[in-house]
Each structure stands twice: as structure tokens, then as C-alpha cells.
Symmetry: C2
Subunit: 493 residues, 2 copies
């Protein structure tokens, strides 16, 4: 029988809270099979005595594990490891084999593609307000600090060599600091060899698509999905297979059904908060997806675009943190934390895949902006990024709360939504008696722009009537005003 007392080690004074350390270890024991499904967990009182920590720490950890779906409480019986978790056995995935599939790209005409360009430069002034689809408030960006550090770097003669051709993998100091940062914040276990610095998440998606999806290779996405990602897959020559999504995210049973009849090269997943509906991929489905990736030999492109923005529990660790087999290409970036225009992101993958991606990147734009990369490296090292992140998360949480409160109070008859656990947008479903075209057009008359194009969320014309409403880029005054204007729109219908 598994002994918590002898297997769990908690370190006081670590940068990671005690209760999160406990979660990390319990999850890793569940994943490795050391604590099998349906195992009864010790009571919080017993475990607090065994581990010499306060009982509140144990309760916080159990709450966290319940919210992530790893354990479940059965009334009057106790707390158990979730019975339905599938197991994943470590095995090495061969990217080169996948990659050697002859590459031939499918037809894709830019001319016929819908224009994606959004005019996002308009100010969120009280003149015209924009409810976007969930972008950061650039007014919160640490611009002066970035400018100061950037300049200091250019003044140091020993940084002169940053100005000549540098590594196609990105600035070494940034990659080095990212190793610690990501391993600590995301529960990853990666080294320098696994990191390629990109220009934001989008370049990560582009590189992965170009390497995996040529020759009409198939990729599975949710039946509502981030439209720019879909465009990137199609441009690379890939064929998209859709599976339904529900409150637990991507339907992995549907993924399995497709895998049984077709060769699948990749599955794209925004596991933390599904884009656009903001739901989280459940622990059960996470494990199932990893198991399928191993069984059917496909890559998981995990786009963790808003890992840093969670307001209720601690964030659910990415699939990449569970990936013992090397199937996951983990993509993230700093554009949402810092500013959309400062495009630095990363692609994390097995070394051979990172090498391929770097060689492709070389012919796209040679390398990143080394001074900006060095600036970010310093900000991670000093902890400035983490401080800034904590600051904006508090602000965005307050904005989410206010936005959802007002939406509920004033527009309950028209909209259906759940308060999102994180991110920058609420998934709002309009009562089917109404039509977004009319609402958006009437809104314009009261100087309110509602989301760039609602149809982008319903490419299949399923008529779900849902859109993303971004709350993060509006301050409290603007949120009040935006909701008031929306109220007048419905009143005048």
C-alpha cells in the first residue's frame, strides 16, 4: 500500500507553496500509477500529522486536486483517486519518423481566405468602446521598465555581440532562465535543448504546422476552435478533423474514434481554457489524450495561451508536464503578460523537433530580436515578470468579477454564460430570439463595438449564438459604461 508519509517530501521556504508541492507530488504518483485509480486517500487530519504541516494545507491541496479532477469525494465514504483515469506508460515518440512522411502542401488560396485583419488600434476611450474577444490591456504594460532595461543593455560594451548574428534557437540567457521559470511555474521537466524562442505563440503554431501537417496530414481540433490556428493548419497543407467540445473540453472519445479509422498526425488543444469557450480540459481527458497520443503516435500541439491568467484555483498543469513519451509540443508566450506587440514566445518539444523547428525558423526570419530577448531574460531573472504578472492578474480578476456581475444583473434575460475560471474573456451565448448582427449594428450606433466578427466562432453555422466577450482590456469605468450601452441596445430593440 502506498505510504504518503515516506513518499511525500515538502520543502518549507521554497518558492512554491506547500499545498502546491503536495498537489504536484500526488499528481505525479497518480500519473505514474503508484497511487492507482480508486485508492482511498488519508483523511486531512491524518495526513497533516504524518507530514507535519497544518491541516489547512492538506485541505487546500485536496480542494485543488478535486477541482483539477484528479481526486473525488464520495459523501460519507471519503476521498478517492478518480476511478476513471487512464494510465500512460512511458515510451519514446519518434518525431523523425513522423517527419519523414513525404511533405506536400495542399492548395490554399490567400485570395479566397476571409480577411482576418482586425482594427484593434482604436482607443478604448469613452468615445468608442470595444468589447474585444479577450486581449490584454496594453495600458498596463511595463513599457518604461522595458525601455530602461533595453537601453541599459545597449549601453554595455560587453553586450555589443548581441548585435551580430546570434543563435537560431534564441538568446542563450533567455533560454536558460526559461528552463527554471517553466519548470517551476508549469511543472515541466525540460532543459535548454527543448526550448526554441519564437515571436509569440503564433510562430510556435506556424512552425509546428509546417513541420507536421504538409502532405494533407490530418489534425484534430475542437468543433469550435481558435480560428487563426485553423487557418495556420490549412495554410500548412493540413486537413482539419473536428471533434465536439463540451464542459470538459475536447471530446477525447471522439478523438479515439477518428484515430481508429484514420492516420492522425496531430491534435491541437488549448487545454487550460479551450478557445473560444474557455472551459478546461478535465484531468480524465488529459490522461486519455496522452494515452491516445502514445497509442496512435500523434503529436499534441498544446497551445497554453493563457496559463498565467487563472483566478480561482491554481492553474491546471499543462499536458506537457505529464508527457513522459515526448508527444507534446508545448507553446506559450509573454505577449499576453507584457504586451501584444512585444512578441516573444517559446516552443517546448523533444530536442529533435526543436532542431527541425529552428532550421525552419532560420529561413523565415533568421532569428529573434536579441536585445529584447535579453531584456526579458533579465526581467525573469529579477522576478519582475512574475511581479508584473501577479499585479495584472489581480486587476483582470476584478474586471472579470465586475463584468460578469453587471452582465448577470442587467442582461440576464438576454445572455447565458458561466463565470470563466481564468483568461480574458467570457463565453456569452445570446438568447436565440436575438441575432448578433442586429445587436452589433445597434451597438455601433451607441459607440460600442462588440467583438470583431461573431461568425468566427461559428464557422460551421451551427447557430450556437456564442461569442467571446473580453473584459481584460477595459477598466472598471469602461466596463460600467460598456454594459450600460449594451443595456440601451436591448432596451431599444
Amino acid at each position: 500500500m502506498f505510504s504518503f508519509k515516506s513518499n511525500i517530501t515538502l520543502t518549507r521556504g521554497s518558492s512554491r507553496n506547500l499545498y502546491l508541492q503536495l498537489c504536484d507530488q500526488v499528481i505525479s504518483f497518480i500519473k505514474s500509477g503508484k497511487i492507482p485509480p480508486s485508492t482511498k486517500l488519508p483523511s486531512s487530519r491524518k495526513l497533516s500529522e504524518d507530514l507535519h504541516v497544518h491541516r489547512k494545507t492538506i485541505i487546500a491541496a485536496y480542494d485543488e486536486l478535486i477541482s483539477q479532477g484528479w481526486i473525488e469525494t464520495i459523501p460519507s465514504r471519503g476521498t478517492f483517486v478518480t476511478s476513471s483515469l487512464p494510465l500512460v506508460q512511458p515510451k519514446k515518440f519518434n518525431f523523425s519518423a513522423l517527419n519523414n512522411i513525404a511533405k506536400e502542401k495542399s492548395g490554399f488560396s490567400f485570395v479566397t481566405r476571409p480577411h482576418l485583419l482586425r482594427k484593434l488600434n482604436a482607443k478604448n476611450s469613452l468615445e468608442t468602446l470595444i468589447i474585444d474577444d479577450g486581449i490584454p490591456d496594453h495600458r498596463l504594460a511595463p513599457n518604461e521598465e522595458i525601455g530602461r532595461i533595453y537601453r541599459n543593455i545597449t549601453k554595455k560594451s560587453y553586450h555589443k555581440n548581441l548585435l551580430t548574428y546570434g543563435s537560431i534557437y534564441g538568446n542563450t540567457e533567455l533560454r536558460n532562465n526559461l528552463v527554471s521559470y517553466l519548470n517551476e511555474t508549469r511543472g515541466l521537466n525540460v532543459s535548454m535543448d527543448n526550448i526554441l524562442i519564437t515571436r509569440g505563440s503564433q510562430m510556435g503554431i506556424y512552425l509546428a504546422s509546417q513541420l507536421l501537417l504538409t502532405n494533407k496530414n490530418r489534425i484534430i481540433t475542437g468543433s469550435t476552435n481558435y480560428m487563426t490556428a485553423d487557418n495556420t493548419f490549412t495554410e500548412a497543407g493540413g486537413i482539419i478533423e473536428q471533434v465536439p467540445t463540451d464542459n470538459d473540453g475536447l471530446d477525447t472519445i471522439a478523438v479515439e474514434k477518428i484515430c481508429k479509422i484514420k492516420k492522425i498526425s496531430a491534435v491541437y488543444v488549448t487545454s487550460h481554457h479551450h478557445h473560444p469557450t474557455t472551459v478546461t480540459l478535465s484531468a480524465k481527458r488529459r490522461m486519455h489524450l496522452l494515452q491516445l497520443a502514445q497509442q496512435y503516435n500523434f503529436a499534441i500541439i498544446e497551445d497554453d495561451y493563457d496559463y498565467d491568467f487563472h483566478y480561482s484555483n491554481s492553474p491546471i498543469l499543462p499536458l506537457a508536464s505529464n508527457d513522459t513519451n515526448g508527444n507534446v509540443i508545448y507553446i506559450g508566450g509573454f505577449t499576453k503578460i507584457i504586451a501584444p506587440a512585444l512578441r516573444i514566445g517559446y516552443l517546448i518539444a523533444p530536442k529533435d523537433f526543436v532542431d527541425e523547428a529552428a532550421r525552419l525558423r532560420r529561413i523565415i526570419d533568421r532569428q529573434g530580436d536579441t536585445i529584447l530577448e535579453q531584456t526579458l531574460a533579465q526581467m525573469i531573472h529579477t522576478g519582475d515578470i512574475q511581479k508584473h504578472c501577479n499585479k495584472v492578474v489581480k486587476i483582470y480578476k476584478a474586471r472579470r468579477d465586475l463584468f460578469c456581475l453587471l452582465l448577470k444583473e442587467k442582461l440576464d434575460n438576454y445572455f447565458d454564460f458561466e463565470v470563466p475560471k481564468g483568461g480574458m474573456a467570457v463565453w456569452v451565448t445570446l438568447n436565440k430570439a436575438y441575432n448578433w448582427d442586429i445587436i452589433c449594428s445597434k451597438a455601433k450606433a451607441v459607440q460600442l463595438e462588440v467583438t470583431p466578427d461573431w461568425r468566427r466562432y461559428d464557422n460551421d453555422n451551427s447557430g450556437h449564438n456564442g461569442i467571446r466577450m473580453g473584459f481584460a482590456s477595459l477598466n472598471e469605468e469602461e466596463i460600467h459604461e460598456a454594459i450600460n450601452r449594451l443595456v440601451t441596445v436591448f432596451e431599444k430593440l
Copy 2:
């Protein structure tokens, strides 16, 4: 008969020299057919009287036109428009039609591609010296000035909106300033609609290749060519057709022969100084190539990577300045002037092509670094870029002179070369009694690295024994030392 007196207008006090104004206008009249081939030009004395300028101005202009191949002197008869110039009639090129060709990309395995990564970070100290293949000296980069302007931008609250999502075409102020800058320095006649800001020339080559070369479309290049460009074409799915190059650059007769039997989508040309051999495409061939592009409906990808670096005459205007038909995609950048790591370049093309390229760019990395782009916009506006360019051109000219002098004085028995008119490298042919492998390996023993990989210049194994030797990144002391070490290599053979 053509009247120079009534057709030529010279403006004193313009930022362009009088003699260059005269050149520009004579060239444009030759190109338009108003001054036909074999026309006798007025004597310099006569023209100086007609135009009320000093005779030296006329002589300088005629010298320039002769060096560019537009006119020729026939002893004891006079000066004539070159007899063999072909004529080009204005006609609109249809990029969309070309683009609608079904796109299917050819097989290209990154795994089997030779590694291109060059370790260029090593210092050019007296410890180890590197004779590279022609890169700028990053020690001359205006780093402090860039840092200062960058920081000032981040301090201005009205620049905060640079931090959110911006135009996929690039910073508006930069595009606007580039219109004047390029029209003035390159003799172009473009507007904002024709400019896409890229991350250096390489991204321009990548975008053009991805839009033109899918589905095994054919591109013509020189039989020695810039290797990274060749790799970019192949990666896009294109098929390369080679034509010979000689002292006048790309053999356009050979281009015509291919066009007669095969559909060609594009011709890639580094017209100012052919890469790698540094020769200039003659005026006759320029006109011929434009005529062929019109006749056979192909795009010319003109990579003008070192337009700014010319040491003898004024630079020959790019093909793009002669392009009345819209066939030319003109690619350039600031990485060579400022610093390789500050990756800002541009792609100039007809509006429909620029629109396509911008949409592709959107899914690659969304947009450029707007603060850096704004920094450059300001430096162009204040003329700082031009001043910096003048400064480094003087330094590189002195380095070229010294490098070639020492090469001639000390290594004449081993090497054959012409002094290049511009650029950052000399095309040096090693006496065929010797072998680069041995030379490079012996050089390493005396702490001298000679060019990253000589084979890159001879992919066809023709045995021409030529390599590029870069002089720009070494200061005078380092040039003396490098040549001395090379001398010891040959002495010890």
C-alpha cells in the same frame, strides 16, 4: 530629335546631387524609348551650356552612365546610347493569376539538409580571427543611439498604443518614411500600399517564395547563388533552374532559352552585386530581364542586400526602379547598415502581392516589433540612418582597399580576384594547385577561421575554387594580422 535642353530639369539644393539627377532623367528617357539606342549624346560642353551647369557635372554624369552601361563612348566619334539595350513596354502584370496556380509543396526534408548554422558569435579578437563571407562589423552599430530612442518611445504615453496589436503591414510611420527614403535613394516610385515591413531581407525572400513557388513552380537562379535563398525556394516547394553567371551577372540569354521551353514563375537576382561573386548585372541584361519578365509573365525577386555599400560610382539603381510592368518584388533591409540582430527589412511589390504577403505574415508571427520599427522610423526621419550609413561606407571602403592591397601584395601567387565595386566581400579564387580544405585546416592551426564552409559556393562541384572573403567585419589591425596569418599558412605548405 530629342531635345535635352527642353526635357531635362535639374533642381539645385535638392538632396540628390545635380549629376545624379541628370543620370536619373537620362536613364528614364532611355528606358521609355524617348532616347533610342545608338542616339548620339550632346558633347559635355554643349550640354553644360544648354542646362546652365558646370561641365564637370555633365562629365560626372556621363562617367556614371558609362559605368552603369547605359551609354558608351566610341573613340573619335562621340558618346552614344548603348546600341544593344532592349526596350520594355509598360504593361500590367497579374500577380493574382500567377498566385491562383494550385499550390502544392514539394518534398523537402530538413533532416537531410546540410546544417547551415554558423557560429558567428566568436569575437574577432587577436586570439582567433574570422574571415567570414561578408557580414557587417557589429562593433560599428549605433547601439547607444538605438537604445536611447527606443527608451524615449517607451516613455511617451502617446506611444502606449504601439504596445497592442498593430498593423500586419508594419508601423505606419516607418512605412511612410520608407516611401520617401526608398524613392529618393533607389529611384523607386512607390507608395505606402507597396510596402510591407519584414524582419530583414530573409523574411522577404521567405514570403515571396511561399507565395510564388508552391506546387513545384520553377525559379531561375545563378549557377552560383546565395545558398540560403536556394534553401528557401526548395523549402517552399519550388524547383530551381540554374543559368550561368559571368562578369555581367546572370546570363539573361540563358534565362530566355529556359522560358521558351518551360513555364517559369520567378527569377531571383542579386542585381547590385551578384551573390557570391560580387559582379553587377549589366544595364543591357537588366533591360533584357525586365523585357523577359513581361513577355513570359514571371516575377523578378530582386534581393538588393547591399545596395548601400558601393565604393566607386554611385550605386546602380535597382531593377525595381525600371519596372513599369509590376513584375519586380524588391527586397531589402537595414540589418546590414545597422546590425544583423536588429531585423527590419521591407518587401516592395504591387499592392495585391503586398496584401497576400501581409496575410501570410499574419499567421507566421502576427507583426513586427512596433517599438523597434518606430525607432527606425525616427532615425530615417532625422537622417541619422543616412549619416550612419555614410560613416560606415567610408570605413568599409578603407577596409576593402587595405584587404585587397595586402592580398595582392602578399598572396598574388595563390589567389585571383577583382577588387569589388561594393559590398562586404571579395570573390577570391584559389589557384587550382591548392585545396581549400587544406588551407582552412592549416589556417585553424594559426587561429584563423576562413569562411564558414567553402563548399556552399560550389554546390555543383564545378571546382571553380572560389570563395567570398569578407573584409567588413575586421578592423585595419585585424586585416593586417589575418593576412599575415594566411601568408604563414601558404609559407608552411
